[in-house]
């Protein structure tokens, strides 16, 4: 292997000092890192469209919003249709079932994880929406998950419903026949 370039003379100064020869600091180790704990607190606000979405979720309803130009339905809504740059205002109630378009099997543990590994993270096209949503798939061995598979939302118990994405715990097979994957190719 070729060598890393020498740092140029005169431009770079790295003190070439044998500290063991300086009595006052002879036993001092070089500082390799310092630890600076930083705590900054934020109070987030969701905004208008996410507020509408989250309030509906607390009522066990999934509400998308329609692009005012293309008519396509976005979920979750973020306030603006990203293809035209105009606000979305018309709410559209979506179904509680959907179709898996693609997925991966996760075999690595992360903080805040709700399920044991391996688990399936999928993109789900909810009935009535024109864009997919990330969701966990449970109730089926990971090896059996496939594009076109029909799934239904599994909600937290009614008395635990809140204005949170976590109302939908995961998705499980609905028992319906698969959708032909070719018909959902344009959705990822």
């Amino acid at each position: 292997m070729s060598e890393i370039a020498e740092l140029p003379e005169g431009l770079w100064y790295q003190p070439d000092v044998d500290t063991s020869q300086i009595p006052a600091i002879a036993g001092v180790e070089a500082v390799r890192s310092i630890r600076v704990p930083a705590r900054v607190e934020y109070l987030y606000t969701p905004g208008r469209a996410p507020t509408r979405f989250l309030r509906a979720l607390a009522e066990k309803r999934i509400m998308g919003e329609r692009c005012p130009v293309t008519g396509k339905v976005y979920v979750p809504p973020r306030g603006v249709s990203p293809v035209v740059g105009l606000p979305t205002e018309e709410q559209v109630e979506l179904g509680h079932r959907g179709t898996v378009t693609t997925f991966c099997v996760v075999d690595i543990a992360f903080t805040g994880q709700v399920t044991e590994t391996p688990f399936v993270s999928a993109l789900v096209l909810i009935d009535g929406a024109d864009i997919t949503l990330h969701g966990l798939i449970q109730g089926i061995p990971p090896a059996d998950v496939r594009p076109g598979m029909r799934v239904e939302a599994v909600w937290v118990p009614d008395d635990e419903l809140s204005t949170s994405f976590e109302n939908i715990r995961w998705w499980r097979p609905s028992g319906e026949p698969d959708v032909d994957p070719d018909t959902i190719r344009e959705y990822l």
Binding site: M1, A38, I108, I131, P147, L188
Partner: protein, 387 residues
């Protein structure tokens, strides 16, 4: 209108990339790259007119907009100093902004640096701070991109070991690059295949590392390129393109922004057949399967055929179209620098300065970067000859 100024890359300097560079401070990391670039260019800090910095999110180092702090260490005091941030593509975008200053004749000699010191914090934390109103990103960047890779595999009907071949090639190339983070002399097809499947279809050994590192480049006008001690790389075309992260009609497997960005850069560089005309490519491949995906997106192969180039060895160092002779993002990934490393390595190739991973006779090279949800793209074409 007068023709724009020609832009020359006359200096490239990189740090040794590593998981933790505990031997240098944060400004020291940048200076290591900067001084090597200046030395390559035969210049000192005083010769520089302006400095353009780029990096990905500030939460990586726990420092808010640190550029004013870095001004002293980079010799930028009294000069213009810009900070670019366009997600993972930022290294490429930063180089383009810097080159634009020369192209527009605002400055004659510009220093540009891409960097990240990921060891300063927990990268996975910095990337996905828990946001109460948003859906949590399930299992990091790999969990985000793996479904798109699976969709590519299904669409293209590629054999399921193409990713292994890419990882093996890139990690072996890295053995010839002294700056690369990962040097794994014992890596083999089987060791990659047997590595843990993290986000099926992505294995551990098919994933980029998390690195500390910086790259710097010195860009000059035509007179500076003509006077350079070593052969310069001339910029033949450069562009960036962005599209929304979530939009109905987006194709995340082969994003339109990538195709349009490539078309723009090729048009500027007079490239009509990229497969024939380009000699080497440094592309942003953080997960192995992105090589065949980008080969198609960038027009080197027909849709569905990218993997065939990989399988046939076309993209190997001794192949017809070497891809990532440096070892690529799969071997070194200081995120904010990774895009500029692609641009800088492309320049090194056409300058004949790439050392052991030099592609013989490289005259025209593509540097490519992407970021966000595969929605931000930055590219440049550099050549040994003046455009």
């Amino acid at each position: 209108m007068a023709r724009n100024e020609r832009v020359a890359v006359v200096g490239v300097g990189q740090t040794k990339y590593a998981a933790t560079r505990g031997d240098v401070s944060l400004p020291g990391l940048l200076r290591e790259a900067v001084f090597r670039a200046l030395d390559d260019a035969g210049m000192a800090m005083g010769d520089i007119d302006a400095v353009v910095l780029g990096k990905a999110p500030d939460f990586f180092e726990g420092l808010m907009m640190p550029e004013p702090y870095l001004a002293d260490a980079l010799g930028a005091v009294g000069k213009p100093l810009l900070r670019v941030h366009t997600a993972g593509s930022v290294g490429g975008s930063t180089a383009i902004v810097a080159a634009g200053l020369v192209e527009a004749r605002v400055h004659r000699r510009v220093l540009t640096v891409g960097w990240q010191m990921q060891s300063c914090s927990e990268a996975m934390w910095a990337l996905s701070l828990p946001m109460p109103f948003q859906q949590q990103l399930v299992a990091g960047a790999g969990g985000y991109f793996a479904p798109f890779i699976r969709a590519y595999m299904q669409r293209s009907e590629a054999p399921d070991d193409i990713g292994i071949l890419v990882a093996l090639k890139d990690r072996r190339n890295a053995l010839k690059n002294p700056y690369a983070h990962l040097h794994e002399p014992d890596i083999s097809y089987d060791s990659i295949k047997e590595s843990l499947m993290l986000w099926d279809p992505i294995r551990y050994a098919e994933t980029c590392p998390s690195s500390d590192g910086a790259i710097a480049m010195v860009l000059t006008d035509e007179a500076g390129g003509d006077a350079a001690a070593r052969p310069p790389a001339w910029v033949h075309g450069m562009a960036f393109r962005s599209e929304p992260v979530m939009a109905v009609g987006r194709d995340e497997v082969s994003p339109l922004a990538g195709r349009q960005c490539a078309a723009d850069v090729y048009a500027q560089a007079g490239i009509t057949d990229p497969r024939e005309q380009l000699d080497v490519v440094e592309m942003y491949v953080p997960f192995s399967w992105y090589e065949p995906m980008w080969l198609e997106n960038l027009g080197f192969a027909e849709v569905g055929d990218g993997w065939k180039l990989t399988e046939k060895g076309v993209t190997a160092l001794d192949g017809d179209l070497p891809v990532n002779p440096s070892g690529g993002v799969l071997s070194s990934n200081p995120i904010g620098a990774s895009g500029m490393i692609r641009f800088g390595e492309a320049a090194l190739q056409v300058r004949g300065q790439a050392g052991e991973h030099q592609v013989d006779g490289a005259r025209l090279a593509l540097g490519h970067a992407y970021g966000g949800g595969a929605q931000f793209f930055a590219m440049w074409v550099v050549g040994a000859d003046k455009p």
